[in-house]
């Protein structure tokens, strides 16, 4: 029994490396997708949800205010992501000392 499609026995170093590369790439893509989904949900909640639920919005097109809110929300979400990443690195370095 072995790893399809590599057959029986253990994998060579090169095959292991390849498998790891694919795994890393797949995880990265999934991570980005997940982050995007979260951002979408939060920005809808923050900018649109209340008005839409109460019928206070302007129909099917986005109003100027809704548009501005969404642009601001997305920018701030990405900025938050960068800030959190920064702090993680700082803490990791501090913990290593």
């Amino acid at each position: 029994m072995g790893w399809w499609p590599f057959g029986g026995g253990g994998l060579s170093q090169k095959q292991l490396e390849e498998k790891r590369q694919i795994m890393t790439l797949t995880n990265e893509v999934e991570a980005m997708g997940d982050m995007f989904t979260r951002m979408n949900r939060r920005c809808y909640d923050k900018c649109l949800a209340n008005a839409v639920a109460e019928g206070r919005d302007y129909g099917e097109e986005l109003s100027i205010d809704e548009d501005k809110c969404l642009v601001s929300c997305a920018s701030k979400f990405v900025a938050t992501q960068q800030k959190v990443g920064e702090i993680f690195m700082q803490e990791a370095q501090a913990a290593g000392n």
């Binding site: 253990g10 982050m35 929300c73 920018s75 959190v84």
Partner: protein, 95 residues
């Protein structure tokens, strides 16, 4: 773990190690993404500009730092559950 794997073939061990590595990466990604979402939700309340203001930045910094320290401490306590009382390292406060 090596004791549990006695007699398991090399290819199966490799497959297991890869799976564990993958699980660990996925778990860290989920933790990171959840943290970003949570700190964003708690700290960012106005949407007039495209950049974080000073208050929001400080809030996010606190949110993240607290989470990292809390996570480490909870992890320590979790690992200490199997130990004798008194083995959990004491809480260290700064001021």
């Amino acid at each position: 773990m090596n004791a549990m794997l006695a007699g398991v073939s090399e290819s199966e061990r490799q497959r297991l190690m890869m799976m564990l590595e993958d699980m660990q990466i996925k778990e860290q990604v989920t933790m990171y993404n959840s943290l970003v979402e949570r700190c964003f939700n708690n700290c960012v309340t106005s949407f007039r500009s495209k950049t974080l203001d000073d208050r929001e930045e400080k809030c996010i910094t606190r949110c993240t730092t607290k989470f990292i320290k809390a996570s480490a401490r909870a992890g320590q306590a979790f690992q200490a559950i199997g130990m004798q009382p008194g083995e959990l390292p004491p809480h260290r406060r700064r001021g």
